[in-house]
Amino acid sequence: MSSVRVQTEDFDVSAEMLTLRKRNPKIGAVASFVGVVRDLNDGDSVSTLTLEHYPGMTEKSLEAIVQQAKERWDIYDALIVHRVGTMRPLDQIVLVIVTSAHRGESFQACEFLMDYLKTRAPFWKKEVTPEGERWVDARSSDDVAAKRWEQAK
């Protein structure tokens, strides 16, 4: 089973965790992250958010990121589910789950996966606000977050 999925449908965190966990009774730690559509961005209210991606490259880049996490930390498994298409405030956008024997590795790998996904996976957000449609700008804080992992370790 692939550890990355790009889909328009919503996901269920409990179900995804169970699928990952069932495979391995040695798992003691499950760290996860869910990204959610906010009703406010850069001071404007957001009515819808549309995610575009680069089919083919998206899956490849996510798989490469998972592979890096597995090489770097003593983890059992990692899953990335990223939605594309149009979403509304409170909708779930992205899910990352990492399993390991002890908690430190899961926490670190989960944050690493999010930081790398944010700067390396070809997704783009367009939001609709009262001012009209606009493409979301990349944040320099995301570059800073991703760079941490190059220095550390």
């Binding site: 575009e52 991606h53 990223h82 997704f123 944040r139």
Partner: protein, 85 residues
């Protein structure tokens, strides 16, 4: 030599096209040659791909900041900094 060029997000919208086949006349074609050829179209092309603009390049679905040599059939994608997650 023919390569495939893809545009995403804002670039796709501004150029009004998501993908095109591009014939390159020169024998040695690098990323910079493709960019130069696109900029020569003027207007939004010259503007969006100007040196002052920040966009990313992926060759065969892998991001790169190097001016790599391209070969027949390569897939070159141009897009804004990513904003997923």
């Amino acid at each position: 030599m023919r390569i495939k060029v893809l545009f995403f997000a804002k670039l796709r919208e501004v150029f009004g096209v998501g993908s095109e086949d591009l014939d390159i006349s020169s024998d040695e074609c690098r990323v910079s040659s493709v960019l130069a050829q696109l900029r020569d179209r003027g207007d939004v092309w010259a503007n969006e791909l100007g040196d002052d603009k920040s966009y990313r390049v992926a060759i065969n679905q892998e991001m790169t900041s190097e001016d790599l040599l391209l070969k027949e059939g390569d897939e070159v994608a141009l897009f804004p900094p990513v904003t997923g997650g």
